[in-house]
């Protein structure tokens, strides 16, 4: 019996907490996602090498036409 037709023999490990039941694999995935989310908020975003267009459009365009209000 090859891998494609062999049924899963092990159901994996599960965490039980009241009415909540979740596999350890899924719990790890959710934990990694939370870490990524927090890191995305805290880790500084690298500045572009030229550090130009994102920060300096005012200087490039002049400062008197802020008519978007």
């Amino acid at each position: 019996m090859d891998a494609a037709t062999r049924p899963a023999l092990a159901a994996g490990s599960y965490v039980h907490w009241g009415v909540i039941q979740i596999s350890v694999a899924n719990l790890i995935v959710i934990g990694v996602m939370l870490v990524l989310f927090i890191a995305a908020l805290l880790v500084p975003f690298p500045a572009p090498p030229s550090a130009g267009p994102m920060t300096d459009p005012l200087a490039e365009r002049g400062s008197g036409d802020d008519d978007q209000g």
């Binding site: 899963a8 994102m54 920060t55 802020d66 008519d67």
Partner: protein
Amino acid sequence: MTRADSNPLTGAGTGPERNWTGRLRRRINRTVPPGQWLPDRQPVYLRSWIYVFGVATLAALLVVLGSGVVLSVGGSAWWHTSSVGHFVNSVHLWSVELFFAFMVIHLWGKFFMAAWRGRRALTWITGAVCFVGSIGTAFTGYLSQSNFDSQWISTQAKDGLNAAGIGAYFNVLDPAKMLLWHVVLLPLVVGVLVVVHLLLVRRHGVVPPFDALPPAETAQLGTSAGVVAAAESIIVSAQATTAEPADRNVER
């Protein structure tokens, strides 16, 4: 436009064209102004990793679609038995895993930003519906593996859907129907929603931070560093989006 106004060689007139292509072009330009489909400058507040997860979701979706096309060419006998088929099958699976992980982090970020502010409710709604549609697409993918796993999942899904009272509307035990839903119907729905979502993002711009103020109010601000930074960010965004819809990047 009269015939006298038109160019006899090209048919183009000097006034606004009344044919369907001219109307469509003007409609497209009204929907998203020229230059905003693929902008090369962004507001300064986008300098945060949290804004990366939207485009990461899109990149993962492209890998999902590409690997899915290859799987459809090879067929189930190929993806179950050959090493290359196993690899492409795994690429399809893991790109879906990344797609959902990135999409959920994107959703968390937008939720805590209250990204529906500034007439962006439809952007939020299309994203949420797209998320639900993606879940359905992924579940029908589980049913399309053509192995014992998909058989087991289909029986569990059948029981769950019957318990929810909606089992009479579609049959998850029909692998042909579920395969067609997975490769045609649901990707089409998700694809259209993604396009509309992106179009709305380009039309209204990325939601600014809570402390960003409209440019008119920034002129009255003091010199507190935080306030100045917020004012600078919104002024930059307004400057970068001149000649766009008035609500773009400016919180109302």
